[in-house]
């Protein structure tokens, strides 16, 4: 049997915290299998070794916040057969997309001693706003089980199983007691994309929406419920202003509760 050439994997970083690519290194049990299945051709976080493109699969972390990065992602796209974005920054613009609703120069002038050295865009945008993306993996950070699923699906040439239904569904599959219904704790699981395994409700807290909007979010109806459970208008505004703040249904709902 002829040995198949191992697909070349590259991992790229844009504006982000590195948490998602670290999920790959965090796959301790599976790391050897991954290294056996793909050639890790570019992964600056893990190794300084560098194999030239083109790449069979590029995992892209981070959002586009500079003109330079907007150019760089085109380059990555051109060198990649398949491009998969990982995490809230790459799929929705991340928490740094809060700048989209503010004045970036006002920020840089207070944060940096020499704001004149800062060259940045007024917005933080997802990768898909710049180049075609083959698959988006949600989460802040991504779930490593889902990352392995994306990799093994890619290797097998099948569609990854990362359902877009609510966190509630996974919460119930786990047998959790609903924190909203049984404790009165506000939870945005009903409008949030599954994928984390309902971590927060499993530890008695409401969902924070790390995986962004689910497939058909009814945020307006949920907000009425959040208010019933004691959240103020400002708290509702803020609950949607986190890692997926620029994802349209969350942006819109935050805006409706703007001060």
């Amino acid at each position: 049997m002829a040995t198949r050439r191992k697909p070349k994997l590259a991992v790229w970083k844009f504006a982000s915290c590195d948490g998602c690519q670290l999920s790959l290194l965090d796959c301790e049990d599976e790391l050897l299998a991954i290294a056996g299945a793909v050639e890790i051709a570019y992964f600056a976080e893990a190794t300084s070794a560098f194999v030239k493109g083109p790449y069979d699969l590029s995992l892209v972390e981070g959002s586009i916040t500079t003109a330079h990065d907007a150019e760089r992602i085109r380059n990555v796209r051109a060198k990649s057969k398949a491009l998969v974005t990982i995490g809230a920054c790459a799929t929705a613009g991340g928490v740094q997309a809060l700048r989209n609703f503010a004045d970036v120069e006002a920020f840089t002038s207070v944060v940096y001693a020499h704001p004149e050295y800062i060259s940045t865009l007024g917005t933080s945008t997802p990768i898909a706003a710049h180049v075609p993306v083959d698959f988006e993996l949600r989460g802040c950070p991504i779930d490593k089980g889902q990352l392995i699923e994306v990799l093994s699906a890619f290797l097998a040439g099948r569609k990854p199983v990362t359902p877009a239904h609510s966190v509630c569904l996974d919460c119930k599959l786990k047998g959790n007691v609903c924190v909203t219904v049984a404790h009165g704790t506000p939870c945005i699981g009903p409008v949030t994309h599954a994928g984390c395994g309902a971590i927060c409700p499993s530890y008695d807290r409401g969902c924070y929406g790390c995986f962004g909007p689910m497939e058909t979010p009814n945020a307006a109806a949920l907000s009425r419920e959040l208010a019933r459970h004691g959240m103020s208008r400002d708290q509702i505004h803020r609950v949607y202003r986190t890692f997926n703040t620029a994802a349209e249904p969350f942006r819109e709902e935050a805006e409706r509760h703007g001060s």
Partner: protein
């Protein structure tokens, strides 16, 4: 019913019942308190049961409360149902392995474990009978379900009080357990601690009862038990008029009420997850990184997801209106066409566990009352 069919157990007798089932090789499940609710889990004895607890339920709300007595069954149904054991949320269907020589498929073996369920309510027995019609009969019976179901020992309990979202009387499924059990219990007040009128409903139940420490039944035990069940029946938190309900829903797909409920519905799927009769599943495939193995898993699905009605080109039920309407119409109307029974047993779980408190009885009433108004000038 002969005298060997009924007896009275004390709390110790109940403990002996649980211990005997375990000794007979059953895995014993029953109600227990966890995370602020009464859930179903492994129980080792009476000490694991929710003594002195009750639940207060309303649309979108559930709270555990202390009772002023030591009743072991003084609450109704919680977020779990027995379907999690008979029709598990996830289960592997088969595994495949690829070697140089061959590709082999291995079906998941039939479960060896037998379950004993303690504290099964009348509506829940009705729900099991409904799922039997889906999984246990006909050309496509599911052998795994059948094995679990046939092996199960059911210890039912008659409800002594109804919950805030219960409507089994409307659905003719309770609160009195009539069939489908091995043993049934009725908790009755006698002195300091309640005692249990126990009745056998099968040969297996009769055999087991004969091995338990119990005392003969006295006339006032029966009176007390009947009174308890009658009390529950008179106390239903909800009602649903079922007369002509099939036609009412099937003939009104464009009623404006569907738009109103869609504006509230989160399409979160909680109602379908907690419903003891909802049976839909999807399959998920996974494969190893090295390409050497693959497996297929079945998991509960919900008609509230887009994937559920996805066919080539898109989802048939893209609006939440279409999805809520499908769910409720199936439960109360088209289930009759499909299985010759209602798909709803009136347990109230979908009302309690809906985060926004959408109430199936209220929705049905709204459609009905509106039409009644329209036809009367």
């Amino acid at each position: 019913m002969t005298s060997s069919d009924r007896a009275v157990l004390t709390r110790d007798g109940l403990d002996a019942l649980i211990a005997t089932l375990a000794a007979d090789g059953y895995r014993v499940y029953g109600p227990t308190v966890r995370d602020g609710a009464i859930v179903y889990d492994d129980i080792a004895g009476v000490a694991d049961l929710p003594a002195g607890w009750t639940d207060e339920q309303d649309a979108g709300s559930y709270r555990l409360k202390r009772r002023d007595d030591d009743a072991l069954f003084g609450y109704v149904v919680g977020p779990h149902s027995w379907k999690k054991y008979l029709h598990p949320p996830r289960r592997r269907l088969w595994r495949a392995a690829k070697t140089e020589e061959a590709l082999t498929f291995t079906a998941e073996p039939e479960p060896a474990e037998r379950f004993a369920f303690i504290g099964v309510r009348s509506c829940e027995i009705a729900a099991m009978a409904i799922q039997d019609k889906v999984f246990a009969v006909g050309d496509y019976a599911d052998p795994q379900y059948r094995a679990r179901r046939d092996g199960a020992f059911v210890v039912a309990v008659n409800c002594g009080e109804a919950g805030g979202t219960c409507f089994c009387v409307s659905m003719k499924t309770g609160p009195h357990v009539m069939s489908g059990f091995d043993l049934s219990l009725t908790e009755i007040e006698r002195g300091d601690l309640p005692v249990y009128l126990i009745e056998a409903g099968s040969d297996a139940g009769r055999d087991l009862l004969a091995r338990l420490p119990c005392r003969p039944v006295e006339a006032n035990d029966i009176t007390a038990a009947d009174a308890a069940v009658a009390h529950a029946a008179a106390q239903m938190g909800r009602t649903l008029e079922t007369d002509g309900i099939r036609d009412l829903l099937v003939n009104n797909p464009d009623h404006p009420r569907w738009d109103e409920v869609a504006a509230r519905c989160l399409t979160c799927g909680n109602c379908t997850m907690v419903c003891p009769t909802c049976f839909c599943t999807t399959t998920e495939d996974s494969s190893d990184l090295d390409g050497g193995g693959a497996e297929r898993t079945q998991r509960w699905d919900s008609c509230f997801t887009l994937d559920f009605s996805y066919i080539h080109g898109g989802s048939v039920r893209s609006s939440s209106k279409a999805r809520y309407r499908q769910w409720m119409t199936h439960k109360l109307a088209t289930w009759w066409d499909q299985f010759d029974t209602s798909g709803c047993v009136g347990c109230g779980r979908c009302i309690t566990w809906c985060p926004v408190g959408i109430d199936i009885t209220e929705e049905a009433r709204a459609i009905r009352s509106d039409l009644t108004r329209e036809t009367k000038p």
